[in-house]
């Protein structure tokens, strides 16, 4: 197709004309993983209503046929119980990690494994953005998959996408995967 970065728009277009009511995506990651930068990449000018939710650091993007909730999971253990209400009927989980922060691979892996155990997320497809690939010290996708023990997640499709939210590289590839998952789900 050769189009430039379309981000969420490509998914929205995919949904148009389908029966789907609303696609609910949850975007998570530790602090400093690059969620906000990624969000800006995904939600180009067409989707311009990024509203911080009061109380906690949750941002929501609404668009036709779309709802994207984004939040930090590091250092906010106290408000964990409130998450649940944001996890209901999630269709897609995007998890962002800092590929150059090897020190925190275990921690972020642990967070992810606790998260996917939530019953709202049973068999929800998982896209891991291995972010900050522009840094020389970034680990490869396979190493990160290993580090996060992704192979133990056998109840859902998962994909690890190397990307740089800064340059935008790889971001659209990740969205293309999400698109391909939507067709599979629709049947």
């Amino acid at each position: 197709m050769g189009e430039v970065q379309k981000g969420l728009l490509s998914v929205i277009q995919k949904l148009k004309g389908s029966e789907e009511q609303e696609l609910r995506i949850v975007l998570l990651g530790l602090d400093n993983a690059g969620k906000t930068t990624l969000l800006k990449r995904l939600a180009s000018e067409e989707v311009n209503t990024i509203t911080p939710t009061q109380g906690f650091n949750i941002k929501s993007v609404h668009s036709h046929g779309f709802k994207l909730n984004v939040w930090d999971i590091g250092g906010q253990r106290a408000i964990r119980t409130y998450w649940k209400k944001y996890l209901g009927s999630t269709d897609m989980l995007i998890y962002v990690i800092d590929s150059a922060d090897q020190k925190r691979f275990e921690e972020t892996g642990q967070e992810l494994s606790e998260l996917v155990e939530d019953e709202n997320l049973t068999s929800v497809p998982l896209l891991v953005f291995a972010n900050k690939q522009d840094l020389a010290t970034a680990s490869s996708a396979a190493d990160i998959a290993e580090g996060l023990n992704l192979h133990t997640y056998r109840d859902r499709p998962w994909q690890i996408q190397a990307c740089s939210a800064l340059s935008g590289e790889g971001v659209q590839d990740g969205m293309n995967w999400i698109c391909s998952q939507i067709t599979s789900r629709k049947k």
Partner: protein, 235 residues
Amino acid sequence: MYSLMANCCNWLKRWREPIRKVTLIMVGLDNAGKTATVKGIQGESPEDVAPTVGFSKIDLKQGRFEVTIFDLGGGKRIRGIWKNYYAESYGIIFVVDSSDVERMEETKETMSELLRHPKISGKPVLVLANKQDKEGALAEADVIECLSLEKLVNEHKCLCQIEPCSAIIGYGKKIDKSIKKGLLWLLHIIAKDFDALYERIQKDTTEQKAAEEQEKRERAERVRKIREESYLCIF
């Protein structure tokens, strides 16, 4: 009359066979057509595929078999995850892009490494020589030669069948007959040797699960410590 009775007996025999759960892995280089094949088997259009850098699976019923096929990413940077799925697989489907002559050497090395693995050697392998619709695609015999397939499978005691096919010419009921035929062959071989395979897989997966559980516990403990330390830092 006799054949009718024989048919009945066969049917009864089959009916009394237990349902068998079987896991297969679908591997091969990136761009070989694994995801397209899997989609076709599942009855979905194989057109809309994105490169797999990860894992997905499909479930299907075939006779008395409940089959799960793991579709794994084939790119060089993700191939490392394959080994995690060897223990539980009863058989292997190896997809080759027959039109990509330049990557035959890489294909050969990849297959060699796969069959050499202790959790794979001795298990049956179906090779799908895919993309036969493309001009310049190698024929079955040429693929066998390029991969030194005979030598490889003999060396590692893997029963093997190769099927030239095209994953994109049809899907669902109209799927390429060779793919269907290959899959049936693989299941047939697995059925013949089921008890031994079952035992081997039970043993291997039990070991793997135990190791994974332990690793999980240890990690949880390490992370708990890290979290505690950062908590102490605040106060």
